[in-house]
Amino acid sequence: MRAVFVLFAVALLAGAAAAAESPVVLKDAQGRATVENFCSGCHSLDYIRINAPFMNRQTWTAEVNKMIQAFGAPISQPDAAAIIDYLSANYGSPS
C-alpha cells in the first residue's frame, strides 16, 4: 500500500482534499434511470445497495417520502412512484 500513501501525500500537497466518486452500479431494471437521476443528486447510490434486502415496499416508501418531505428532494409524485417500484422490486423483500 506504500505507493498509495505516496500518491495521497502528493494530492494533499496540491491542496486537493476532494476524492473521486467511484461509480455505484444498480440493478438494471425498469425505473433505474429515474432512481439514478433523482437520488444521486444528493447522495451516492451505495446508500441504496447497503440498505438491502431487508427493506420492503412500506419501508422504501417511507424512505422516499422522507427524502421529499424532510429533505426537500424535488421529486414529482409519478417519479416517486417509479422510484418506490424500482427499489421495492430490486432492493427489497416481499412485504
Binding site: 494533499l12 466518486e21 447497503i50 431487508f54
Partner: protein, 411 residues
C-alpha cells in the same frame, strides 16, 4: 453553515482521479476482520476498503457523503490513530479544505451579551488549553447489526474511536460571551452543509449545563496533531460521554438561545423513546411526551482480537483483547466467556487513561476442545450498568450494546 465565496460544496463530484482507485480493495480480500457477522447482505456485497485523502484504507459504506468505519482490529489499542479514525457525514456539501488562517468561529446568539469571533490562533493561545481522552462514538454505531435491520448507514463495530482531544473549554469561551440567565441551549453549526438549499442544514443544540461542563471543549488538536479534515478541522466540539451527533465538525458558530432549538436534526432525528435506555443525563428542554434526544453513550465493549473465524491449534494460548467504554462513569469490570456464555472469567483491565476513554482489557486462555468456539465479552461500569443480552430494539438502531460473540476455530 456560513456562506463563503470559493467553497466547492460539491467537492466529491470532482477532484483527484487515479489516487483513490489504487486504494480500493474488496473488503473480504483485504481482511476477514472487516466483515462483521450480522450485517445486511447488501452491505456485505457493497463495502470496500478505501482511503480518503489523508486517511488509511477504512471500511467504506458510502461515498457521498463519506461514511467510513474503522476496522475492529484497531481497537486492540486504546488510542485510535487519526488516519484510521471513522468518518461520518449526513450531507454532501463538504468543503474540500478549510483555510485555518482565515477560518473564524462566530460566538453569539440572543442569549449572549457580546457577540464576537475567534480565530484558530485565538482558540489556541487566548484560552487555557486542556487535554481529555474521550470516545467519539456515532449514535448509530452497530446499527447494521440490529435485528430486525433498520434503514440508515449500516454501521458495524467501527463507527467509533478514542483520541486525546486538546483545546479550550467551551465554558471559558461562553464566559467571554456573557450568557443571559434565560439561556436554555447552546446551538452549534459547522462549515459543511446540504447540497440542496432546501435540505435542513446539520445544526445541533445541547443543554446549557452540558455546555458549561468542564469536560466540554472545542478541540483544535487530536492525538497531538491538527484534526484531520474529515474529522472536523480546524475545530470541533468535544462532548465527552455523549454520542458523536453533538460533536459538531468544522465548527463555524456557537449561539446561545433562550428557547429550545427546533431544527430538523434536533426535533426530527436522533431521538429515542422515553425511558427505553438507562441514561442519567437527559436533555429535558428537548423532551416530548414520547421521545427524547439521544444523550449518553451506553456501556459497551468490543473484541478486537482474535478475528472472527480465526484458526488456532489445540493447546495454543489465545489472547482475547479489546476495549470497553461508557458515558464516563468508569469501566470497573470486563468479563470474558470462552464457552459461548456458560461460564465467565474476569478479564485483566489495562491502564485507566480517563473515565471517558477506551479502557483496554485482555484475557488469555488455552482451548481444550476442537471445533468452533464462541468468545464473548461483557463490560460493566461503576454505576452498575452492564451490556444487555438481548437487543433493546428501536427504529433508528441506536445504543446497540448487546453482548456479541466472536467465533474462532480450534483445529
Amino acid at each position: 453553515m456560513r456562506h463563503q465565496p470559493g467553497f466547492n460544496r460539491r467537492g466529491f463530484l470532482g477532484g483527484v482521479g487515479g489516487a483513490l482507485t489504487l486504494g480500493v480493495l474488496p473488503a473480504r480480500a483485504a481482511d476477514s476482520l472487516l466483515l462483521t457477522i450480522g450485517l445486511p447482505q447488501g452491505t456485505l456485497d457493497t463495502v470496500t476498503m478505501e482511503a480518503l485523502p489523508g486517511k488509511r484504507p477504512l471500511i467504506k459504506l458510502t461515498g457521498r457523503p463519506p461514511n467510513y468505519e474503522t476496522p475492529a482490529s484497531y481497537f486492540a489499542n486504546p488510542v485510535t490513530p487519526n488516519d484510521a479514525f471513522f468518518v461520518r457525514y449526513h450531507l454532501a456539501g463538504i468543503p474540500n479544505r478549510i483555510d485555518p488562517q482565515s477560518w473564524k468561529l462566530e460566538v453569539g446568539g440572543e442569549g449572549s451579551a457580546t457577540p464576537f469571533s475567534l480565530s484558530l490562533n485565538d482558540l489556541q493561545n487566548n484560552f487555557e488549553q486542556v487535554e481529555i481522552p474521550a470516545v467519539c462514538q456515532c449514535s448509530g454505531n452497530r446499527r447494521g447489526l440490529s435485528e430486525p435491520h433498520v434503514p440508515g448507514v449500516q454501521w458495524g463495530l467501527g463507527a467509533m474511536g478514542n483520541a486525546v482531544w486538546r483545546g479550550p473549554r467551551l465554558k471559558d469561551i461562553l464566559a467571554k460571551a456573557g450568557l443571559a440567565k434565560e439561556t436554555v441551549e447552546i446551538v452549534f453549526d459547522g462549515e459543511d452543509g446540504p447540497p440542496l438549499t432546501v435540505t435542513p442544514d446539520f445544526v445541533k443544540s445541547i443543554p446549557v449545563a452540558k455546555a458549561l461542563d468542564e469536560n466540554t471543549i472545542v478541540a483544535t488538536r487530536m492525538n497531538g496533531e491538527p484534526l484531520p479534515h474529515f474529522n472536523g478541522a480546524p475545530a470541533r466540539l468535544i462532548l465527552p460521554g455523549w454520542t458523536a451527533t453533538y460533536w459538531m465538525k468544522h465548527l463555524s458558530s456557537v449561539r446561545a438561545v433562550n428557547k429550545p432549538f427546533d431544527g430538523f436534526w434536533m426535533r426530527g432525528a436522533y431521538r429515542i423513546p422515553n425511558g427505553m435506555f438507562p441514561v442519567v443525563q437527559r436533555f429535558l428542554s428537548q423532551e416530548t411526551d414520547v421521545n427524547t434526544p439521544i444523550t449518553e453513550i451506553v456501556v459497551n465493549s468490543v473484541i478486537a482480537a482474535p478475528a472472527e473465524g480465526q484458526r488456532f491449534q489445540m493447546g495454543q494460548q489465545i489472547t482475547v483483547q479489546g476495549v470497553a467504554w461508557d458515558a464516563g462513569y468508569g469501566i470497573v469490570r470486563v468479563e470474558v466467556s470462552t464457552d459461548g456464555g456458560t461460564s465467565w472469567q474476569d478479564a485483566t483491565l489495562g491502564p485507566d487513561s480517563g473515565r471517558f476513554a477506551f479502557r483496554p482489557w485482555t484475557h488469555r486462555f488455552t482451548a481444550s476442545a476442537r471445533g468452533p468456539l464462541r468468545i464473548l465479552a461483557r463490560a460493566s461500569n461503576r454505576i452498575g450498568q452492564t451490556q444487555v443480552d438481548k437487543l433493546i430494539f428501536n427504529a433508528a438502531g441506536y445504543h446497540n450494546n448487546v453482548v456479541r460473540p466472536t467465533t474462532v476455530v480450534i483445529a
